[in-house]
């Protein structure tokens, strides 16, 4: 995030309309070296469209995008030398082996044969894929397919990596491995832009943008976004969590009481004032409960609170 370095990715007032909707509505942002920049938002928010505009596979209606200073619309061929784009459905050939897929992409990206062999070995071993070199891509698990996709995308050592929901449907163990790889790429100087519909995953990014209805609603580090969270959150654990929720949901100062298994996740304006009130109400109703404890806001809490604020302020 050093401001001295030129941005690796820059979007200026990007606009893309589809019949009847603004898929992307005047989005501007820049991403520097060493960042893992997250686009976070639900399906249909515009994440995929932004990535396609940045990758130069779709032209914007207005605005511009540059990769390493090269305009992706004016000079797509040169921009593509610096970037790799991994779409949601990465085109692996299921009837080719792992090795054959990698070599196929090396051909596409015009990687010289001599360099190619030097790169394939280390990539395969750092992704833990070396033992599966001769396995057909169609026989890999979901997590391994994602890793193979990433190896193919990295074969030409890009400076900018655009990943569209790479971890959708990938289990937690493979996801953790995947993020370790992203952080090691970042160490090697690759700038990463990643989209995800999973808010919990957003915490992994060094900076993130909350995308909502084609607009970038907020953009900052996870820590600074968290600091913007209004009010406090509490957890009340109870064997009768449902009764707890009913009893406290409409108390003053409580803006949300969410039933989650054996506990109620409560959003309050002022914990010092509301905890004693909650305790009193539950004791009077003879509902068993454990003392309310402060809870860290999840990214979902944050997203909801920020969007609510945005809606109520002009």
């Amino acid at each position: 995030m050093s401001p001295a370095l030129p941005p690796r990715i820059e979007a200026r007032k990007l606009v893309k309309r589809f019949p009847g909707v603004f898929a992307v509505n005047e989005m501007s942002f820049s991403v520097g070296e060493g960042e893992i920049f997250g686009l976070v938002g639900p399906d249909g928010a515009g994440k995929t469209t932004v990535i396609r505009l940045l990758a130069g596979v779709m032209p914007p209606d207005s605005g511009s995008a540059t990769i390493d200073g090269v305009d992706v619309v004016a000079d797509p061929e040169r921009a593509k030398q610096f970037l790799s784009y991994m779409p949601q459905r990465f085109g692996l050939y299921e009837d080719l082996t792992v090795d054959e897929n990698i070599r196929f992409y090396a051909d596409i990206f015009e990687v010289a044969p001599s360099i190619r062999d030097q790169r394939i070995g280390p990539l395969l071993s750092s992704f833990g894929m070396a033992p599966f070199q001769r396995r057909l891509a169609g026989q890999l698990s979901g997590g391994m397919k994602q890793k193979l996709g990433l190896i193919c995308a990295l074969i030409h050592t890009p400076r900018v990596l655009l990943l569209d929901e790479p971890t959708t449907g990938v289990d937690p163990v493979s996801r953790r491995d995947f993020w370790k790889i992203l952080y090691s790429l970042r160490e090697q100087g690759v700038t990463i832009l990643i989209s995800t519909a999973y808010l919990e995953e957003a915490e992994r990014c060094t900076r993130l943008a909350l995308v909502h209805q084609g607009v970038m609603a907020y953009c900052d580090t996870p820590a600074r976004l968290r600091a913007m969270m209004p009010g406090k959150l509490l957890n009340v654990v109870s064997s009768q969590a449902r009764d707890v929720q009913k009893a406290i949901a409409s108390l003053p100062g409580i803006s949300g009481a969410l039933l989650m298994g054996d506990r109620v996740h409560v959003a309050v304006d002022d914990d010092g004032r509301r905890i004693p009130e909650i305790v009193r109400v539950l004791e009077e109703a003879h509902i068993p409960f454990e003392p309310p404890v402060p809870a860290e806001p999840t990214m979902e809490d944050l997203f909801l609170a920020l969007l609510r604020e945005r809606r109520t302020s002009p």
Partner: protein
Amino acid sequence: MSAVLPEKTDKAGERTEPVLVAEGLVKRFGNFTAVDHVSFRVDKGTIIGFLGPNGAGKSTIIRMLCGLLTPTEGRAFVSGTDVAKDPETVRQHIGYMSQKFSLYGDLTVMENLRFFGGIYRVPRKVLPERIRFAVTMAGLDGRENALVSTLAGGWKQRLALGCAILHRPPVLFLDEPTSGVDPESRRRFWDLIHALSGEGVTIVVSTHYMDEAEYCDLLALINRGQLLALESPTALKKRNLGGTLLSIECADIGKALHLLEGQPGLLDLAAFGNAVHALIDPARTTPEQLFALLSGAHVPVDHIVPIEPSIDDIFVRMVGEARESQEGEPGRRAG
């Protein structure tokens, strides 16, 4: 976890019949054991989440419970019906909602509901009233004639739920039900699920995401066909991670990772934006030592605080342990 759980009683102290029962459930495909002696009992109205890596056996268990696959060994009962002996009855007692919602985009809301009402053989007499309920639950009043393809994700999802419960199944299966929908719709959806559970519907959720796992009453962790744990999210998070989890907030994550890697007493490391999550063995290292190490190497540290592990943390740890004990792998790699 092959021990049978003690019988539970409901609030009034009455013994409750478990709605889902698995006893020593095994499924083999050739030489491959997909499900390996799994036993559990799930009470009426419970929301149970199945978590596990791809290929762990989650879907195989669920398919057996739905009467779509016959167990190789062991038995399973849904509302008292043996899934192997009477799969047809089992299928009439369950509702199923897939991740893709399986609605017909080129049909209207009403047409979809009538279609599913027909498939589930909902008696004609009660169908209009059930459809009315589903429309209201989904918040689609006044939009009965809208094409489903024109609806936003949250509506589609609630409509799919409405379709899945038209025949009032006592057991409902949901496969990553809220993936990709906006947070507000997700919370509305879970409110509906909790309302159904309050009415006594038993709900089985299969998911990879702790966003969803956190809403369940009970979580079943499945790995390599075995049940690793069956407990509430709160209990699961209190499990021993094998060390203390610290969040180390600092500006230069990359350098911090390099410095910490391989240090004695460091069991695992993961980068989280502005922080490194480090699992330490408190007998071998301390937050103070790590602070000194980083500061000494000119990596300024903002905070080091112990944090509660997430369900993901526990999950990855337990799967790792199970793998080590099965394969005798040397210690976990940090990095």
